[in-house]
């Protein structure tokens, strides 16, 4: 079953903290294929992690 946006956002967040199982990955990919909002969210997660590191390490 394809997860909804809320569940997808949870999986995307958890993907930053643990390895997802194969079924989880498949469901995630299926959702991302049809949802550009969650694709945006995913890019934003990556950006936020990068920004936090930059903020911590900048001189």
């Amino acid at each position: 079953m394809i997860p909804n946006c809320k569940h997808t956002s949870e999986l995307l967040s958890q993907a930053q903290d643990r390895s997802l199982s194969l079924p989880e990955k498949i469901r995630l990919e299926l959702h991302l294929l049809i949802c550009n909002r969650c694709r945006n969210f995913n890019r934003q997660l990556e950006f936020m992690r990068k920004a936090l590191r930059r903020y911590r390490d900048r001189d």
Binding site: P3, N4, C5, K6, H7, S9, E10, S13, Q14, Q16, D17, R18, R37, C38, N40, F41, R43, Q44, L45, F47, M48, R49, K50, A51, L52, R53, R54, Y55, R56, D57, D59
Partner: protein, 195 residues
């Protein structure tokens, strides 16, 4: 190689030079300038005393950060005993705030917009002001977990152990933190720049 930590010695000066970095690190995690200052002070003192143990294999910054991390975790342990992380009203209001971001069918209510090329923001000093304000707006418990993960680079298992919470609880808080920070950045920055 040991460090020359005599007053005004080359390495004493080098250690002092890392103070600004350590302070930013401690402030992000502890969210209290006075506490952060104390942790950094203790770190620099321990570093000067233990300078002989600095092998020179890692960078000075890495070594100092390692010491600071221990000081911060000690503090979090003490604070955790006095003010446990689980089961309070904040938790409920936060859960409600996250629920409000989604419709009952699980669709985004205010859906994440395109941020264009967000990396250009990283070069803009005004962005960092907004960014800092957004990190400070995170609720205390959520911020504690989020910064342990993102600033101190701790794996979730370690965070759970330190704070005595379950992995699921940890993931829920990290998810909330990211949604909240995202919302704030979009409101304060990316929504405004018209990208």
């Amino acid at each position: 190689m040991s460090l020359d930590t005599s007053p005004g010695g080359a390495q004493a000066t080098e250690i002092e030079r890392e103070r600004a970095y350590l302070l930013r690190y401690a402030r992000l995690q502890l969210r209290d300038p006075a506490l952060a200052e104390d942790a950094v002070q203790e770190t620099l003192l321990a570093a000067l005393e233990g300078a002989a143990r600095f092998s020179g294999k890692s960078s000075l910054r890495t070594w100092l950060t390692g010491i600071l991390k221990h000081k911060i975790i000690d503090h979090l342990r003490r604070a955790g005993r006095e003010q446990p992380l689980t089961g309070n009203d904040d938790d409920r209001s936060e859960a409600e705030a996250v629920d409000a971001l989604f419709a009952t069918d699980g669709h985004w209510r205010d859906f994440p917009a395109q941020w264009g090329n967000p990396d250009t923001a990283l070069e803009n000093s005004r962005f960092w002001v907004a960014f800092e304000a957004c990190t400070q707006r995170l609720p205390a418990r959520t911020a504690r977990v989020f910064m342990m993960r993102e600033i101190m680079d701790m794996p979730t298992e370690e965070i759970c152990k330190e704070l005595d919470i379950t992995a699921t609880n940890c993931w829920v808080m990290l998810h909330r933190a990211r949604l909240t920070l995202r919302e704030c950045l979009e409101l304060q920055w990316f929504g405004k720049s018209g990208s």
